[in-house]
C-alpha cells in the first residue's frame, strides 16, 4: 500500500480500504525506521494525526475534499509553514516558527493533504547534493536497496556498506528521498537550477519544474527570485499532474504568477506520439556525460522514433555560457535576498553586544555556512558599480540569448526537448565531498539550469538503473505553460521504460506488517 501511487492510494481511501489515520500512522512509522536516510528535518506527528483525523471525518460523512484528501505529503524545509519550524537547514533559522504558510502549502492543506513534516536540503537550497545543510547529509534510499547492494557493495566487506552510501542529489534531496523511500506520496521541492529534477533523477522519482509564473512562490524562501519555482516530486507522472492541478494559479501575493485561469488536466490513457517532433539538443552532450547515460538517451530517442515521432537533432548554441551566467545571476540575487537575515526580526542572533554593527556581522558569520557566505560575497562583488556592466548586465544579456535559443527551436516546430537530467548516476558521499559546493553545483546543474534561465517547464522521469544499480533520469523540456503536453509525453515515456521499483527491506517489513494487520481488507 505504501508503494502505491498517489492516485491509487486516493482511490483506496475513497473505497474505504484504508483510513487516513492508518495511512498516516504507517507513513510515520516508516519515517522512524528509515531515519538513517535523514530525509526529514522536522516530523510533525501530532498535527499530522490531527489532520488525518479531520480527513477521516470527511470521508466518513462522504464529503472528502478531493483527490488529495488524507494523502500524506512532505514539504521541503524552505517553504514557510505556519506553526511549524522552518529552518532552510541553516543555523540562521533554527527555531524559527513562521506565522504564515506558503501559498502552495496552504493549498495542499486546504485540499485535505496531511503534512507529515519538513524535508532536508542544502542550506538555503544552495547545493546539488543535499550534503551542505546544518542537519547533515541526506542519504539516497537506493544506497540501501537490494539492487545497489547486489551490484556495488562487495559481499566480502559488509563493513564498507556505511561508506558506500550515495548522495540523494539536491538541493531537494530530502523531498526526493522521502518519496523514494515511500514515507509520503508526494513532496514539494523547489527548483532554481535543477534542485527538484536532480535529486528526482538520483532517487528514481518524477521531478517536475513547472513554468515560471504558473505556481506561487509566496512563502518559498527565495534563492533566485527570477528562477525559483516550487517543484513537485512524485512516484509517477500522473501524480505530478494531480499535484500540479492543485497548486497552479494566480496568487495576488506573487505578482509574477499569471492571471489566466489554469485548468487542471488528466493525462490520457492512450497516447499517440507519432505526430510529435522531439528535439535532441546536441549541446547537452556535455563533457563528463557518462557513457551509459549517453546510451540510454539515444535509446530513448529511438523509442520515440520507433513510435513514429519526428526525432531531430537541434542546437541551443548558447548553452555553454549558461552555467557561468547562472552563477552570476544567482549570487547577485542571493546577495540581496540574504540581506534580511540580520538577527533583528527573527532567527539567530549573536550574543555579540559590542555594537549593533558587530552584532549583525557576528550573527551572519555564525548563522550562514561557507557556501551561503561565499555566494553573498560574490553577488555583492558582481553588483558593485564598477562590476555591474561587466558581470550582471552581461549575464542578463546572455540569459536572453539562452531563452531565445529555446524560442527558436520551439518556433521551428519542435514540441519537446529530450535530454539527460544528470551527467552520471549518484556518487558516493565520500567522493562527492572531495569537490567544493561551487564546483559540484556547476557540474550538476549543467543540464538543468538552462530551463530555469528560460522559465520553461521541465520534468525528470526515472528511466533505468545504471550498472551500479542506481537510478538514471531523463529530462523533457516543454514550451512555456504547455505542461499538459509535456506531462503527456513524459507519461508515455514512463510507460515504455517500466522503471523498476526500489526494493527496501524496511519498506517490505512495514508493508508486510500492514497487510497482516489488514487481513480482512480486500485491497492488495
Amino acid at each position: 500500500m505504501l508503494r502505491a501511487s498517489l492516485r491509487e492510494v486516493s482511490a483506496a481511501l475513497k473505497e474505504g480500504h484504508v483510513t487516513p489515520t492508518e495511512l498516516c500512522q504507517r507513513c510515520l512509522a516508516l519515517i522512524k525506521s528509515t531515519k538513517f536516510v535523514n530525509a526529514y528535518i522536522t516530523v510533525v506527528e501530532e498535527t499530522a494525526l490531527k489532520q488525518a483525523e479531520e480527513s477521516e471525518k470527511r470521508y466518513r460523512t462522504g464529503q472528502p475534499l478531493g483527490v488529495l484528501d488524507g494523502i500524506p505529503i512532505a514539504v521541503k524545509d524552505n517553504f514557510s509553514t505556519a506553526g511549524i519550524e522552518t529552518t532552510c537547514a541553516s543555523e540562521m533559522l533554527k527555531g524559527y516558527i513562521p506565522p504564515y504558510s506558503a501559498t502552495v502549502v496552504q493549498k495542499l492543506l486546504d485540499q485535505g493533504a496531511v503534512l507529515l513534516g519538513k524535508t532536508n536540503l542544502d542550506e538555503f537550497a544552495m547545493g546539488s547534493g543535499s550534503t551542505d545543510g546544518v542537519f547533515g547529509p541526506v542519504r539516497n534510499p537506493w544506497s540501501y536497496s537490494r539492487q545497489y547492494k547486489e551490484k556495488s557493495v562487495p559481499k566480502s566487506h559488509p563493513e564498507d556498506e556505511d561508506s558506500n552510501w550515495v548522495i540523494a542529489g539536491g538541493s531537494s534531496g530530502g523531498s526526493a528521498a522521502a518519496v523514494s523511500s515511500f514515507t509520503c506520496f508526494a513532496a514539494l521541492g523547489s527548483d532554481t537550477g535543477g534542485s527538484t529534477r536532480n535529486p528526482a533523477a538520483h532517487c528514481g522519482v518524477v521531478g517536475l519544474k513547472p513554468t515560471y509564473g504558473l505556481i506561487s512562490r509566496h512563502g518559498l524562501i527565495p534563492l533566485v527570485n527570477s528562477m525559483d519555482v516550487p517543484g513537485i516530486l512524485t512516484r509517477c507522472v500522473d501524480d505530478a499532474a494531480v499535484v500540479l492541478g492543485s497548486l497552479a494559479g494566480h496568487d495576488p501575493k506573487d505578482s509574477t504568477t499569471i492571471q489566466d485561469n489554469f485548468k487542471p488536466f488528466e493525462l490520457p490513457n492512450l497516447i499517440d506520439v507519432s505526430k510529435l517532433s522531439i528535439g535532441i539538443p546536441k549541446e547537452y552532450h556535455a563533457p563528463g556525460l557518462s557513457s551509459e547515460i549517453l546510451a540510454l538517451w539515444s535509446k530513448a530517442a529511438d523509442l520515440f522514433k520507433n513510435a513514429g515521432a519526428n526525432v531531430i537533432e537541434v542546437s541551443l548554441p548558447h548553452t555553454h555560457y549558461s552555467i557561468v551566467c547562472y552563477h552570476v545571476l544567482c549570487t547577485a540575487e542571493v546577495a540581496s535576498n540574504m540581506a534580511r537575515f540580520d538577527g533583528l526580526e527573527y532567527g539567530h542572533r549573536s550574543d555579540m553586544n559590542k555594537s549593533t554593527e558587530s552584532m549583525y556581522a557576528a550573527t551572519r558569520r555564525e548563522g550562514f555556512n561557507d557556501v551561503v557566505r561565499g555566494r553573498i560575497l560574490s553577488g555583492n562583488y558582481f553588483l558593485l558599480k564598477q562590476n555591474y556592466e561587466n558581470y550582471f548586465v552581461k549575464a542578463q544579456k546572455v540569459r536572453r540569448l539562452i531563452a531565445n535559443d529555446f524560442m527558436k527551436v520551439f518556433r521551428s516546430g519542435v514540441d519537446i526537448l529530450l535530454t539527460p537530467t544528470t551527467l552520471s548516476d549518484a556518487v558516493p558521499y565520500i567522493e562527492f565531498i572531495k569537490e567544493d559546493n561551487r564546483t559540484r553545483s556547476a557540474q550538476d546543474d549543467i543540464l538543468t539550469q538552462a530551463a530555469n534561465m528560460a522559465g520553461l517547464p521541465a520534468i525528470s522521469v526515472p528511466t533505468a538503473l545504471s550498472e551500479r544499480g542506481l537510478p538514471i533520469g531523463l529530462q523533457f523540456i516543454g514550451r512555456s505553460f504547455q505542461e499538459n503536453q509535456l506531462l503527456t509525453v513524459a507519461r508515455w515515456f514512463e510507460k515504455q521504460v517500466k522503471f523498476p521499483m526500489i526494493e527496501l527491506e524496511e519498506v517490505k517489513r512495514h508493508d508486510h506488517g500492514v497487510f497482516q494487520h489488514q487481513k480482512s481488507a480486500s485491497f492488495s
Binding site: 506565522p99 527570485n225 509574477t256 534580511r340 533583528l344 526580526e345 550582471f392
Partner: protein, 506 residues
C-alpha cells in the same frame, strides 16, 4: 510643476545596509560665530565673490491608506512596531521584501521645473519668481527608523515606517541661498498638499529635505559639495543652508578644503556637524527587482484598445481631474478679488486661509480688497502672535463676516469694530452684534443728538472755531476727534464732519 512622464520599465532593489535606514549621531560642535546673511561676501583675497550653489533632494511620504507593497496602515506616531505586517518585517518567503525597492534607473517622471516666488525685501512687497529644474521624481520604499544609543551601544528599531511609499524629488542645483531653498520647498509642499499626494508636514517627517551645498568663484567649476541632513522645518532649512555656505567660504578663505561628506544640522546650536555613520561613498549594489512586473503608464494616445480602463493608468485622465495648482489659484484670487499678488501668496501660505477669506467675502457686502486687510492685518497677526493655525482661530469666518457687515452698514465705526474683534478673540461665544449691544458700540443714529454734541464741542473750542473760520480747515479734524472722544467712538466721522462743516462754514 511640469514633468515629463515616462512608462516605467521596472523597479530596482538595493541591498539594505543591515538593519533599518540611516540616522544621525550628533557630536559636539563649535557654536556658530558671527551673524550670517544670505549674501556671500567678497573673498578676503580680493578675488571675485563666492557663488553658493544649492541643490535639494526631497523625500515626501506618499499619503495613502496602506504602505507601498503591504496592507499595513500608514499612521504617524503609532506605538513603535504596531503597524508592521509580516511583509514589512520581511519574514522569510515574503516577496518582494528584505531590501529597498526604488525606481533607480527609470524614474516615474523626469525633466520637470518648479516655479516659486520669494520676496526680496522685508516688507513683503517685492516678489520675484524663480525656477528650479527638477531632475526626476522616483518612487521608493521608506526605511524603518533606528535610534542609536551610543553610550550603551544599543540600537532600537521601529518598523512602522518601513515600506511606506516615498517620492524622491531631485532638484538641480539652481538655488543660491537658504531663502530660495526654503521658498522652493514651500511651493513644492503646497503643490503636494493641493494634490493630496502627501501631507508633507516636515515636523512629522512626511517631508524630508537634504541640501547639497557648495561654493565656487564665478567662471570656475563647482566646488566640492556637502550634503546637509536632519533638517525638520523650513526655517531650519534656510538656516542650515546659509550656515553651510558661510562655513565653506570661511573654510576656503582660511586655506582649508571642503570634504565631500554628509553633515547633520543641529538646530539647537544652529550649525552643521559631520555625520558619523555616512562617511565615504555608499555603493548600494542596485539590481532590477524581478518580483515586480513593470507598471506601464499610458496616455490617451498610447492606450491600447480593448483594455480594461480600471486596470491601467492613463495619465491624461488623471491630468483632467487635477485640482488647480497653487500658482493657478493665486492668479485666480488676484483676478477675481482684485487683491495684490503678494497677498495671494500669504493667503495660500497659511493652511486654510484662502478658504477663510473666500468664505468671509461670500457673506459680506464689504469689498474683497477691504476684507483682505482684515484678514492679513488683524486675523493673521493675531494667529501668529498666539501661534495658532487658521483652523484653531477663535473667530470663524461667519463671525468675522458679521462684524464686517456691521462696519459696512455703518452701524459701528472701524474703531469699534476693532474693539469687537478684541472681544471675539476671547472666544466666549458671543456674536458681534451682542458685543456691540453689550458694550454700546453702535454709532449714534440720532442726528439731533449728534448735532447737540457737535454744538457743545464748538461752544467749548472758541480758538479752534476762529481758526477754521479764518480758513484753516485742518483744525476741523481736531474737532472731529473731540466729538469721537465724547461719543466714545460711536459717531460716524463722515457724518460728524458734515455736521461741523454745516455749522461752521455755511
Amino acid at each position: 510643476m511640469v514633468a515629463a512622464v515616462r512608462g516605467c520599465g521596472g523597479v530596482w532593489r538595493r541591498v539594505w545596509q543591515c538593519g533599518a535606514g540611516g540616522s544621525a549621531s550628533l557630536g559636539q560642535c563649535a557654536a556658530a560665530s558671527s551673524a550670517r546673511g544670505a549674501v556671500a561676501p567678497a573673498g578676503k583675497s580680493g578675488l571675485a565673490p563666492w557663488v553658493p550653489v544649492v541643490g535639494l533632494e526631497i523625500h515626501a511620504q506618499i499619503s495613502s491608506n496602506s504602505k507601498l507593497f503591504s496592507g499595513s496602515q500608514v499612521q504617524f506616531a503609532a506605538p513603535p512596531n504596531s503597524v508592521v505586517s509580516f511583509f514589512d518585517a520581511s519574514l522569510p518567503g515574503t516577496l518582494p521584501a528584505g531590501y529597498q525597492i526604488t525606481q533607480q534607473r527609470v524614474p516615474i517622471a523626469v525633466n520637470g521645473t518648479l516655479s516659486y516666488s520669494l520676496c526680496t525685501d522685508h516688507k513683503m512687497s517685492q516678489m520675484v519668481t524663480k525656477t528650479v529644474r527638477i531632475k526626476q521624481i522616483q518612487l521608493e520604499q521608506d526605511s524603518g527608523k533606528s535610534l542609536h544609543d551610543d553610550s550603551r551601544s544599543q540600537t532600537l528599531v521601529d518598523l512602522n515606517r518601513a515600506g511606506v511609499g516615498l517620492m524622491e524629488v531631485v532638484m538641480e542645483p539652481d538655488m543660491c541661498c537658504g531663502k530660495e531653498a526654503a521658498a522652493a520647498v514651500r511651493e513644492l509642499q503646497l503643490i503636494l498638499q493641493t494634490l493630496g499626494s502627501s501631507h508633507a508636514v516636515m515636523a512629522e517627517g512626511q517631508l524630508r529635505v537634504d541640501a547639497n551645498v557648495s561654493v565656487h568663484h564665478p567662471g570656475e567649476p563647482y566646488g566640492v559639495r556637502t550634503e546637509v541632513k536632519n533638517i525638520n522645518s523650513l526655517r531650519f532649512l534656510a538656516k542650515a543652508v546659509d550656515y553651510e555656505i558661510q562655513r565653506q567660504i570661511e573654510e576656503l578663505e582660511n586655506g582649508g578644503t571642503i570634504l565631500n561628506e554628509t553633515r547633520a544640522f543641529d538646530s539647537k546650536l544652529g550649525c552643521t556637524v559631520p555625520m558619523r555613520d555616512k562617511e565615504g561613498k555608499q555603493d548600494y549594489r542596485f539590481m532590477p527587482e524581478p518580483n515586480l512586473p513593470p507598471l506601464i503608464l499610458y496616455d490617451t494616445k498610447s492606450l491600447p484598445a480593448n483594455i480594461n480602463h480600471q486596470q491601467v493608468v492613463n495619465i491624461d485622465r488623471i491630468h483632467e481631474r487635477l485640482p488647480d495648482l497653487p500658482s493657478v489659484k493665486r492668479a485666480k484670487l488676484v483676478e477675481q478679488y482684485g487683491i495684490l499678488p503678494e497677498h495671494s501668496f500669504t493667503l495660500l501660505n497659511e493652511d486654510g486661509l484662502t478658504e477663510f477669506f473666500e468664505s468671509v467675502v461670500k457673506r459680506t457686502q464689504m469689498k474683497p480688497k477691504k476684507v483682505i486687510g482684515w484678514i492679513l492685518n488683524d486675523l493673521l497677526s493675531y494667529l501668529n502672535q498666539h501661534s495658532l493655525t487658521v483652523k484653531e482661530s477663535p473667530v470663524n469666518s461667519s463671525m468675522l463676516a458679521d462684524l464686517l457687515n456691521l462696519l459696512e452698514k455703518k452701524e459701528i465705526s472701524s474703531t469699534a469694530a476693532k474693539q469687537v474683534l478684541g472681544e471675539l478673540w476671547k472666544g466666549e461665544g458671543k456674536t458681534p452684534l451682542e458685543i456691540v449691544k453689550e458694550k454700546k458700540l453702535e454709532l449714534i443714529q440720532d442726528q439731533e443728538a449728534l448735532e447737540q454734541i457737535c454744538q457743545a464741542v464748538i461752544d467749548g473750542q472758541k480758538n479752534e472755531v476762529m481758526a477754521i473760520k479764518a480758513g484753516n480747515h485742518k483744525v476741523l479734524n481736531k474737532l472731529i476727534g473731540l466729538v469721537q472722544r465724547k461719543t466714545q467712538g460711536r459717531s460716524n466721522p463722515v457724518l460728524v464732519k458734515q455736521l461741523l462743516e454745516k455749522k461752521l462754514l455755511d
